[in-house]
């Protein structure tokens, strides 16, 4: 009984200490301005046959109507389109379908460059997830008027 109580107490104490440590870590600094807006991804397309002027403007307007797309640039001369999007709302593979049949678009990705020099062993996705957690637990964000 004593053992159980002692272990329970220890776990409880460790648990409370851990929670306090995480909260301290999260609230140690003011949040960042960039933590407030929703995260974005960047996509690029090659769109065949798009002409400068009205057609390029129509393509831009069409893209901006796709839910989740926040900004886009059409470079008609290069048949190039770049856009930012909210990954929760739309994925790059869906965008060409949204533009068809009026525009024949293909997802563009420059080939990955060969890795040179030392690389961070922690994937950047993990770092971003940790930052997101810190912002969520940072109560100082409620004191900032953005």
């Amino acid at each position: 009984m004593l053992k159980t109580t002692g272990i329970g107490l220890l776990i409880r104490r460790l648990g409370l200490g851990s929670v306090a440590a995480v909260l301290l870590w999260a609230n140690w600094q003011e949040p960042n301005l960039h933590d407030y807006p929703a995260p974005i991804g960047v996509g690029a397309l090659r769109v065949a046959g798009v002409q400068p002027g009205a057609q390029a403007a129509a393509l831009r307007a069409r893209l901006l109507r796709v839910p989740g797309i926040t900004a886009c640039t059409v470079s008609a001369d290069a048949h190039a389109v770049a856009y930012t999007y909210h990954p929760d709302e739309v994925q790059p593979a869906q965008v060409p379908q949204q533009l068809a049949p009026a525009f024949q678009a293909q997802v563009y990705e420059a080939p990955a460059a060969p890795v040179a020099g030392p690389q961070c062993p922690v994937p950047l996705g993990y770092v971003q997830a940790l930052e997101q957690l810190r912002f969520t637990l940072n109560l100082r964000r409620f004191l900032v008027k953005i």
Binding site: L33, R46, A78, A80, T84, L124, K145
Partner: protein
Amino acid sequence: MLNITRKLSLSLLVAASLLGTLSACKKNEEAPVAQASLYDRLGGLPAVTAVVDQFITNVVAETMTSNSKLKRTFDPLVQSGNSYRVASLRNHLIDQIGQAAGGPLVYKGKTMQAAHQGMAITDVEFNALVAELAKAMTSKGVPAAQQTEVVTILSPLKSTIVGQ
């Protein structure tokens, strides 16, 4: 007679009070009103974020052209599997422009010199980048005067970015 004198005194008192109040109001009107920060005049965080997102798409589209001036520096952003680097760039830009414009929070990233060390960015590349920022602001409806203010507060960074 006494009643008339009292009424006259009271009227004078009211008139004097009114004059005093009016002159105080005038003083308040003449007092310099603290001008809102550029951050607030731009439209706060939503406007800064919109400009930065538009700037990023402008830059990525520019790297896809055949005579691109920014391809050397920014091509890694559109290379497969590098989406987090774009997000990181966006974060730094929001923080930096937000702070420079008088926003509520501070940029905590590297110094510009440290961030651009070894990149050997040229004047041509820097100017092309500023042109894309100007296009982004125009596209998002930022008035010309405020565009000039943004460029003016960011231009001192040029010496810490170019030629590092």
